[in-house]
């Protein structure tokens, strides 16, 4: 671990984050090496979205530091972090509703960072977007919106891509489609931090998993070293003692919401 911390692309040290009086993260440490894919998992309210907002700059830590590419960015404005290579596909996708898919993608390239991602590259990775390029954001299905959101983030040619709850509210077949694009993204050298409630997807795509519970890390391991039971115990906070076998069956695998 100390190895990766020395060369980490992203490093959080002792990060506290508050919403007013409510504390969402408690002294959180996290590190992602260049080229690695880290999955952060946890139940609702574990602090996953807050973590991504803190990395992207939408929230500022009350204590601790966020380092990116060797620089302390704890106080750096969001738009500047984007220009230095951090891109977030936010919770709820936040597609620009009055703009077409293609315009959304072009806005993603606003900072004009050079790199491999162009309109053509995004359309290659997400063929469904090429068909919908002239459709306005407000008229897209959930899956199309998610693909647009990821494509839009890629257009900024990020070194670090933050994906928040990609699977939320999508049908399994659509989730599979979107995750199918992930290897093409990491193959271009992009480091990915994915936040998921869907354990199956998270374990399938990640090199390493870090499980949060009520704002603290309760498990951190290579994705291949960890069993579902261990993850389940951490996920539900059942004290590190693997719960009875039945517990694994209650792990939310694919959540499909309205």
């Amino acid at each position: 671990m100390t190895d990766t911390e020395a060369t980490a692309l992203l490093g959080l040290t002792g990060v506290d984050v508050h919403y007013g009086d409510f504390q969402a993260l408690y002294g959180l440490d996290l590190s992602v090496a260049e080229g690695e894919t880290l999955a952060v998992i946890g139940a609702n309210g574990a602090g996953k979205t807050t973590l991504l907002k803190t990395i992207s700059g939408l929230m500022k830590p009350t204590r601790g530091t966020v380092r990116f590419a060797g620089r302390d960015v704890s106080r750096t404005a969001t738009h500047k972090r984007v220009r230095s290579g951090i891109a977030l596909t936010p919770e709820g996708r936040r597609i620009f509703a009055s703009m077409t898919v293609e315009e959304n993608l072009k806005v993603g390239a606003y900072g004009r960072r050079p790199g491999p991602w162009t309109l053509r590259a995004v359309y290659d990775a997400f063929p469904l977007l090429a068909e919908k390029r002239t459709r306005r954001g407000g008229f897209l299905s959930g899956g199309e919106q998610q693909a647009t959101a990821i494509g839009r983030a890629l257009m900024s040619n990020p070194r670090l891509l933050l994906l928040d709850e990609v699977s939320l509210g999508l049908a399994p077949v659509v989730i599979a489609d979107i995750y199918a694009a992930l290897p093409a993204i990491t193959a271009k050298g992009t480091t990915v931090l994915v936040v998921e409630q869907d354990l199956t997807q998270a374990l399938a795509v990640a090199d390493r998993v870090q499980c949060l519970l009520e704002g603290r890390t309760v498990l951190e391991a290579a994705a291949t070293d960890v069993t579902r039971a261990e993850v389940a115990a951490a996920y539900f906070g059942t004290g590190g003692v693997p719960a009875q076998r039945g517990a694994a069956a209650t792990i939310p695998t694919t959540r499909q919401e309205a």
Partner: protein
């Protein structure tokens, strides 16, 4: 033929209203700010042009080369210095702040230029007209104003639709937090929007000063007409603002045709009717800065 003439003159007058209103429409569209200082800024631009004409050898139209950049800078400074701070306090604050700017601005103009009415001389252009028939003729300057309004609104529309910065501005309008995730500096984008808006109202103000007499408090009337044009057309949509301006102009001239005292009143009544029957404006747009 009188009625045809009234409509024709109304359309020409509407060009002036549309030109006055498009900056108001832009600021509301991008930032949800209703800028009550809009009228006083138009009049301030007219005074600046008047001052330049009387203190330098600059021809009237050439003053635009100075007035527009100066007023754009004023707009930028207003946004950075006042409106951006006010926006943090909620939606109502910029409205109140702009009201303060309007009051202070009108009084500063009063101090600097006295309450006498002024106008910017444009020589023969003020009276020259094109005869369409024995009964119909249109003023050349009114026609120029209408053409300028269409060009400015078309230009703004093209800027928003086809340029990188214009797309960034629309993104900021749609979702300002998501826009920052695209690498857009929201506060700079707002400052740019206001600078452009005030540049257009400066142009409109100078044209106004060339077509009519103005006083330091004339901005109140300008604000009302601009506001009516924006509401009649539909909020936050630039082409709708053009249509709104034309409708308001026609309403006023047709009203005046019925009785010369009813011109402005007829405009207000159309405005009220639109608010009652079709509050989203005549041209409905679904959140599109078209």
């Amino acid at each position: 033929m009188d009625w045809v003439n009234a409509v024709l003159q109304g359309l020409l007058l509407g060009g002036q209203y549309a030109l006055l209103a498009c900056g108001l429409s832009l600021m509301f569209g991008v930032m949800r700010i209703v800028n009550l200082a809009h009228g006083v800024l138009a009049v301030a631009a007219a005074y600046l042009a008047y001052w330049l004409v009387s203190h330098t050898a600059l021809p009237s139209f050439a003053t635009l080369v100075i007035v527009i950049p100066v007023m754009a800078a004023v707009g930028w400074a207003l946004q950075i210095g006042l409106f951006n701070r006010a926006l943090k306090q909620g939606e109502l604050s910029p409205l109140l702040v702009s009201f303060g700017v309007a009051v202070i601005g009108a009084n500063l103009l009063q101090e600097g230029f006295k309450a006498d009415s002024r106008s910017i001389a444009i020589g023969d252009l003020a009276t020259s007209s094109i005869r369409l028939s024995d009964d119909l003729s249109i003023g050349v300057f009114s026609l120029i104003t209408l053409v300028v309004a269409v060009v400015v609104i078309g230009g703004l529309r093209a800027f928003m639709a086809y340029t990188r910065v214009g797309r960034g501005m629309r993104a900021t309008k749609d979702d300002h937090e998501a826009a920052t995730l695209m690498g857009i500096n929201e506060r700079t984008m707002y400052a740019l929007a206001t600078a452009i808006a005030i540049a257009t109202v400066a142009l409109a103000g100078v044209f106004l000063g060339m077509s009519t007499q103005f006083t330091p408090t004339y901005g109140d009337l300008v604000l009302i007409f601009a506001f009516e044009a924006v509401i009649i057309g539909g909020l936050g949509n630039l082409w709708a603002t053009l249509v709104g301006g034309l409708v308001l102009g026609v309403a006023q001239t047709v009203g005046a045709q019925i009785d010369p005292a009813y011109g402005v009143l007829a405009g207000h009544l159309v405005f009220l009717a639109v608010l009652l029957v079709r509050p989203q404006g005549l041209l409905v747009s679904k959140a599109v800065m078209a």
